[in-house]
């Protein structure tokens, strides 16, 4: 009897230890977020002791390495915007169209080929897309549009569009496949063609899921580093011209980290201020996208 009790005691004790270890692993994720925010915040604070927030957010020149450095982040923002717009212009139509094809039109045999291809494309490292942009897209663009610079926003944007296309496609397809069959069959029973069912039943029903897939993909594009570092150039310019060289938020961070910026100088802290801005932009976009999905779920339950 005593033996059994001892055994039981040991068991509950070890159960407790296991429980707390597992809990610690889960809570670690909260500390990662805190770590990110803290490391950005502290160093950004040092930056804003030297440069005013107003000057940072409204300045039109970004020249941290000049003798008389200017820290106006607008050129980096327009650079990011240009590349992202090109990427969205490629990824949204292609991604949505292939999602519609996969969920509504494609025979299962074709689906079995297309899905893995999209998965492979999604798994190609971004540095490889950088190679694709620099060595295949740029020469083609230069042939088609004379005057295109070697490093330009368009070719980086196109490569980035191809990279995020699988994300748009798979998330939109998930949204489209959540449309109740009964609704679609209702449409067909009224004599609608496939396109008409897609247009007036599936797309409106899956609208929120599709929009959130766009938001997530665009946020991914804004945060992407290697493609723009390799192919978009390193010249911060206040322009929306896709054929010229630009610098994005992420490309600046990559460049600044490689240069011999002494630890503790203003130009070193600029890296963190730009990182903070990048984090805030992508975080709010992701948060918004998740909220759209969450709301739709609650709506469906209600």
């Amino acid at each position: 009897m005593i033996l059994i009790n001892k055994d039981k005691m040991k068991e509950t004790k070890s159960e407790l230890v296991v429980h707390s270890l597992l809990l610690a692993a889960a809570v670690l994720s909260v500390f990662i977020t805190l770590g990110i925010i803290l490391s950005l915040l502290l160093n950004t604070f040092s930056f804003f002791q030297e440069v005013s927030i107003f000057e940072f957010l409204t300045g039109k020149e970004w020249t941290p390495l000049f003798a008389n450095p200017q820290y106006g982040v607008l050129p980096l923002i327009t650079g990011t915007l240009t590349v992202t717009l090109v990427a969205a212009f490629i990824a949204i139509p292609l991604g949505l169209a292939s999602a519609i094809f996969l969920s509504e039109y494609s025979p299962p045999s074709l689906r079995k080929i297309l899905k893995p291809v999209l998965e492979i494309l999604a798994g190609v490292p971004s540095i490889v897309y950088g190679y694709f942009a620099l060595n295949l897209i740029t020469p083609l663009l230069q042939k088609l549009i004379p005057g295109t610079e070697i490093y330009n926003a368009a070719s980086a944007g196109i490569a980035m569009g191809i990279m995020i296309m699988p994300l748009v496609s798979s998330l939109s397809e998930d949204a489209l496949s959540s449309v109740p069959l009964g609704m679609k069959h209702g449409g067909y029973a009224l004599g609608a063609t496939k396109l008409e069912v897609v247009k007036s039943i599936s797309l409106p029903y899956a609208f929120s899921g599709i929009v959130s897939s766009f938001v997530l993909a665009i946020s991914r594009a804004i945060g992407e580093t290697m493609i723009v570092t390799v192919a978009a150039g390193a010249r911060p310019t206040l322009t929306l011209n896709p054929l010229g060289s630009v610098q994005t938020l992420t490309a600046f961070i990559a460049q600044a980290s490689q240069g011999d910026n002494a630890h503790g100088t203003t130009s070193y802290y600029a890296l963190y201020a730009v990182g903070m801005l990048l984090f805030l932009i992508t975080f709010s976009m992701n948060f918004y996208a998740h909220r759209i999905i969450q709301r739709k779920k609650e709506e469906l339950v209600a």
């Binding site: 809570v27 977020t33 990110i36 160093n43 893995p116 540095i127 991914r220």
Partner: protein, 288 residues
């Protein structure tokens, strides 16, 4: 009557055109993959020989090799796996098996999905300020592996959670009915059952770590190393950074060397992905 007929014919035609357009958009992905792979093969294969795998990088394209980059990538991936797998699986087990459905749990879950969307270069900034500077680990393999672990843990946790969720409650109840404790049930029933799904998630996350370069630009990974790393505290270079370094060289020869290195990396990644797909299909079990 005649009018009606035309109208219907037009609707059918529009549907057919849309069908073709949608199909065309889907085939763009196949086309891009084919163009990319054939370009890599055409440019890269002439540099792929034994020396390419045993040489160090060189000023001359013909003598360049990827040995330090491959060794560095191997170190990084093994260390990253050793750090991230236990923590991720533990977190997933906690969230699915132990956690109550309360505010705190929901907060952790939302936090993890938000972490998965943080740009990789931001993890690099965290690694630079926390591991490299605050903890004083320097630009070492360990700093790189810790940073990479933080980056892939959200992916692993979510994949493991999904795998664990597939285990039906009846199996757990059977285990409890035999007198097993909670931990014994988790250890003996839940995790083994979810293992194929967990493995698939782990392999995909590891292949992400193998191809990722942005955070390593900040944390470590020098553009040139003259010796092979021997301990986790040594400096290192990985394959994607080696590719980046070669890509930045203007000469046409180095374009081909770059293509060769990308080809090696892509073969490694495709092998990993295939393994994940095979595991998923072979051990895929559905419970009624």
């Amino acid at each position: 009557m005649r009018n009606n007929f035309d109208y219907n014919k037009r609707r059918q035609l529009v549907n057919k055109i849309a069908h073709i357009l949608f199909a065309g958009a889907s085939f763009v992905s196949i086309l891009v993959l084919l163009i990319l792979l054939s370009d890599l093969v055409l440019r890269g294969t002439k540099y792929i020989n034994l020396e390419f795998f045993t040489n160090f990088p060189s000023r001359f394209a013909s003598k360049s090799g990827i040995l330090p980059a491959m060794v560095g990538s191997l170190w990084l991936v093994v260390l990253t796996a050793a750090i991230s797998i236990p923590v991720s699986v533990a977190a997933a087990v906690y969230l699915e098996e132990y956690a109550m459905d309360n505010r705190f749990t929901r907060f952790i879950k939302i936090n993890i999905s938000n972490l998965a969307g943080v740009p990789s270069i931001v993890y690099g900034i965290l690694g630079l300020s926390f591991f490299v500077r605050t903890l004083g680990l320097g630009r070492s393999i360990l700093s790189g592996a810790l940073t990479m672990s933080l980056l892939i843990m959200p992916i692993m946790i979510v994949a493991s959670q999904e795998a664990i969720r597939m285990i039906p409650n009846s199996l757990r109840e059977g285990s409890y009915a035999l007198g097993a404790s909670k931990w014994k049930t988790v250890k003996g029933i839940v995790v083994p059952g979810a293992l194929p799904g967990i493995m698939t998630g782990i392999i995909l996350a590891i292949s992400r770590a193998l191809g990722e370069s942005a955070p390593l630009l900040l944390v470590g990974a020098f553009s040139f190393v003259s010796t092979l790393p021997k301990s986790p505290m040594d400096s290192f270079i990985v394959m994607p950074i080696q590719i980046y370094t070669w890509m930045s060289k203007p000469s046409a020869d180095f374009k081909d060397v770059t293509a060769a290195a990308i080809l090696v990396l892509m073969v490694l990644l495709l092998t990993l992905n295939m393994t994940a797909i095979v595991i998923r299909n072979k051990f895929h079990q559905t419970y009624e």
